[in-house]
Symmetry: C2
Subunit: 280 residues, 2 copies
């Protein structure tokens, strides 16, 4: 596996190969990321993984500074999976002037769900992903369904800006107890870690009620919010949406996704479950 | 020459060739455009010219509807120059939902000079150019210096979003009397056409004074504005700027550009002259 730090070297490598799958990450790789890599290997001959903690998608007071940087261990994991290139640019390489001047601006969805609590987060994501796409020039790119809103916005960007890249959404990896894997799980204390699966259980409860025919979305959302709050979670949102557009769910919609974001202690966790009622 | 109307056919053609130069236009081709094509032919093995009147870069009350559509004549001119592909998508091909949701948003320069008089114009340009770049995937693209602010913003976008495309700025083509070629010149009456070179003459006058050592930029701008106004022009701006950044010119700057936009009757014309004082 080549470890590449500069744009110049990346472009040289890219000119020498065809058929590339790309997995952009912020590092601190866990089995969720490794599942993305496995899907990438299935999708193309060569695989590039980037590790870059992207300052412009973090807000003030968020965890940019404390976000875990573990490049050496990340490189070991990727080398074992026979990844072709680990692209790990430093900040000056992607933001040579210290600032980004041109942004890929997503539509109003960027201000809903997580976006309502993280101003400018999604335009930071689309902008850096757009930069990385222009650098790696992949045929296909893999994103986790864990960040469901991000995946939806990336799909929208690629379609709307006519990028010639196939996007694969990869299912969420979970701990044995059901907790969705996340780099931020390591912020949790032992007790919090044991309690964290409760968020997923609430989503499962809503999914069950939807499958049983309930369509009173607001009641379901509010009940889960209340239950979480009673168990000492600070809830940003619990929301039932159309799985494709992320528009607020309508009674006749059959492909739904239930999304939630909530704080357990000082840690903000997100999770979601897709519910397909058309097969019922 | 292939005339291609669909994205599907364009991508098929693009997969069959390497080394492509691209000239995006809104059609109604004159010798200025043909000079872009000549530069494109020098720069790469294959040349793609697009003709697309891009609704999202026109403001309310601007000339989108009356903008001249002359595809048949355009195709004849391009075929004579041995262009490989004329890409002429209809609106539904580039805006299948009737709207664009993701925009490439330029920095504050988009609201200066022409941008101060044409809200959202430049983000309409960067967005469609970004779409066309993702479709044509050129190695090099040619833009005219006539639209100097547009060229500067495109250069900025390509650098800032790490697009792997070399941008060539092509000198302005002028009539025998000096009038810069423009599709909008055909809106001029015969009398207006004869009078229109006066804008260029004012820029030449400023250039001469800069070369003679004058650095009182505001006085030069105001004098030209006043003279044009006295000759029945309605002036949007006359502005002396740093040629690279388009920042307001500073006394120590040596590479300058003098830009102007002004209305003659119902027609808005723009022009500019670069002045290099470092060689003096």
């Amino acid at each position: 596996m080549k470890i590449i730090h500069t744009i110049k070297e990346l472009r040289e490598w890219r000119n020498s190969v065809q058929d590339v799958a790309f997995v952009p990450t912020m590092g601190n790789l866990h089995n969720g990321h490794l599942s993305l890599v496995a899907h990438a290997k299935q999708a193309a001959k060569h695989v590039v993984v980037s590790v870059f903690v992207n300052r412009i998608q973090f807000g003030e007071g968020e965890d940019f500074d404390q976000y875990p940087r573990t490049l050496e261990q990340d490189a070991e994991k990727l080398a074992k999976l026979d990844v072709d290139v680990l692209f790990a640019p430093d900040e000056r390489e992607l933001y040579p002037n210290g600032v980004q001047n041109y942004f890929v601006e997503p539509p109003a969805l960027q201000n809903e769900l997580c976006g309502a609590f993280r101003p400018n987060h999604f335009r930071g994501v689309t902008t850096v992903v757009s930069k990385l796409f222009h650098l790696v020039e992949p045929n296909v790119a893999c994103f986790g369904k864990k960040d469901y809103q991000q995946l939806t916005i990336i799909r929208g960007m690629v379609a709307d800006l006519n990028m010639n890249i196939r996007i694969i959404g990869v299912p969420i990896e979970r701990d044995a107890d059901g907790l969705a894997l996340s780099s931020r799980n390591q912020y949790l204390s032992t007790d919090e870690h044991a309690a964290a699966v409760f968020l997923y259980q609430q989503l499962q409860h809503i999914a069950q009620q939807l499958r049983s025919g309930s369509r009173d979305f607001t009641v379901l959302e509010q009940a889960a919010t209340q239950t979480l709050t009673q168990h000492n979670w600070r809830v940003d949102y619990v929301s039932i949406r159309d799985a494709g557009s992320l528009n607020t769910a309508q009674t006749q919609d059959t492909k739904l996704v239930i999304l939630a974001a909530a704080h357990l202690g000082k840690t903000r966790l997100i999770d979601n479950i897709e519910v397909d009622l058309s097969a019922a």
